[in-house]
Symmetry: C2
């Protein structure tokens, strides 16, 4: 097939060997005579897959023993509600949020169904091009919630908020991309479809010691303590998405784990941002210090007015795919998740240089 | 690979051609140069897949125009809560339930979080071996809820309850197995992993005219009216599970649709139940009139005491897989979903005859 340089913002590129193995297992899983997707989730084969996926998360991120790793459904958007349902007190609940764009706003909307939300700081007045840095966390908060990386606006927290209250992070778009200290958080949740696997499962990494303290009756499927007790199998789990996540995490381990991928991600981001800054036809759209390593966003400068059509033709001709900006903001966004090779970034950068020559 | 006769209760057997096509698409979807699972859910390719899946449900089941078909996440267990959240009045909510076993009990548990539950009738005192038939639906109910087929106990409604209140059905394990009149229901929901596809998506077929009447603020991901408005894409949908469901529904249409599969399912069930009734070594575990066509359950009779080990060896040697009863009830359960060929049932029946000869 034609070589495609896949900069899709998610679902996104996965390692070639993962796709190959997943494809085989849809026909037959490891000599069992059965397809992965037509066997019981209680089979010893699938129970081992679930266990392996859990172990890999623990090993790759150094998850403390008193934390649980769960593979659930619903994406981060259901996570917005689940975070609040599991951490916001039932009576007089009050939580602090940092608003860094669309996903934070979504999280705030769901939390308001369950208690009082205090938005400590917001990047809204600068169209979310900066991560807010000056705020204090009031005492008496049930938790502090933030979004570590903002796929739409292309910003990313470079250091994490500190808080006496439990710290909750929607890490959907940069989990497994760089070293983190899990013990700094009480709940991390992330949709799989960036660095972990295909769409269809959501990982929860939760400090068990902080669960069961809200006085709230939580729907079974959304209850993290119950899902821990049932080992993520209160009901039939999303078998395929968990399996492919397990394969992707195996791949990550095989190439050297988080420290290696962090280096690769930094090198890819440097290559692209250096070109954005050097090339007079382009400029970045966010504060330099808050630039996302996962989702660089950029636009054509005034100098390159009228070149948009030409640029679009050129990158498409080079096999680049998925760099149109999010439908809500326009411009360009080159998402560079873990599985994207630096060679693809070089192809994009070459197209940018080529546009400059021909402009 | 070895021929396996897959009687798994779910996730369960899928058509061979579906597995083959799904396997290919994990490598590359229809000449796009991209894997199905690494492309944007907003791509024209995936939007067309979602639309096609929706159309097939409408066409196969004859869904009225004022109903929406949604592909969501969470399985029927999240559906238990969603049914109540979308239909139970916020103030003074009251709903009627029929209790026919584990899944009904689960649905009742979730509904109690949101209002009063009136259990009209229960099969509990006969260990759920019968479908309750004598009950009256009180007036003033927000809805009547039942489970059409009970996978664990092997019973199935042969005619559906009548009610002035909206009728809600968890149809996870027999949807698409036989003709139904969708207009008789206001909400049908069903986990995909029996007759529709792999685990990871749940179909909702809902009468739009009945939504938005509870006065309740519903979490976004659980709000059927919002999911309708967003065409099941409030967030990233479970791409693979929806795609494979679409393929499975295409297959169902290609073989002649619901009327053809209903005939096949009746023939398979007759073959196995006739043997259960004829063979002195076996007996069925449920009331004859309530026998499930999807999940026949049976045990060895006293006459065959001590033959269990022999029988287990024999069916395993014949390539039969997945007929051990649910861990909560024991015995045998031969699940015969749409994609199971009658040849597999013949193999099982032959083993039962063989046991009789050698006993």
């Amino acid at each position: 097939m034609a070589k495609v340089h896949n900069f899709s913002a998610g679902p996104c590129i996965l390692p070639h060997e993962v796709l190959h193995k997943a494809s085989q297992s849809v026909i037959e899983l490891d000599g069992t005579g059965l397809s992965l997707i037509e066997m019981s989730h209680r089979s010893k084969e699938f129970v081992a897959i679930m266990e392996r996926a859990r172990e890999l998360v623990k090993e790759l991120l150094g998850v403390p023993d008193n934390y649980s790793v769960l593979f659930l459904q619903g994406g981060a958007s259901l996570g917005f509600y689940m975070a609040a349902a599991n951490f916001m007190k039932n009576e007089g609940g009050k939580a602090a949020y940092l608003d860094t764009g669309t996903w934070s706003t979504g999280a705030i909307k769901e939390a308001k169904l369950l208690g009082e939300v205090i938005t400590l700081a917001s990047g809204k007045d600068v169209n979310y091009t900066k991560i807010p840095k000056n705020y204090t966390v009031p005492s008496g908060m049930d938790y502090l919630h933030f979004t570590s990386n903002n796929t739409i606006f292309g910003t990313q927290f470079k250091s994490f908020p500190k808080s006496d209250a439990p710290l909750i992070c929607d890490m959907s778009s940069d989990i497994f991309s760089k070293k983190i200290n899990v013990a700094d958080f009480d709940l991390i949740y992330a949709g799989a479809q960036k660095n972990m696997g295909p769409a269809g499962t959501t990982v929860y990494i939760v400090n068990r010691d902080k669960l069961g303290k809200t006085g709230r009756a939580i729907p079974s499927m959304l209850d993290l303590a119950l899902q821990h007790e049932k080992e993520s199998m209160y009901n039939t789990p999303p078998v395929f998405a968990i399996y492919v996540s397990m394969l992707t995490l195996e791949w990550l381990k095989s190439i050297g784990g988080i420290s290696e991928i962090e280096k690769r991600n930094e090198a890819k981001a440097k290559l692209l941002y250096d070109e954005i800054d050097r090339n007079p036809l382009f400029k970045g759209t966010t504060a330099v210090e808050d630039r996302s390593l996962m989702n660089p966003t950029f636009v054509l400068t005034e100098e390159s007015a009228g070149h948009e059509e030409k640029f679009d033709k050129m990158w498409k001709a080079a096999g680049v795919s998925g760099i149109s900006g999010h439908r809500s903001v326009g411009g360009y966004r080159a998402s560079m998740y873990n599985a994207l090779p630096i060679e693809s970034v070089k192809v994009l950068v070459d197209v940018m240089k080529e546009l400059e020559k021909n402009a």
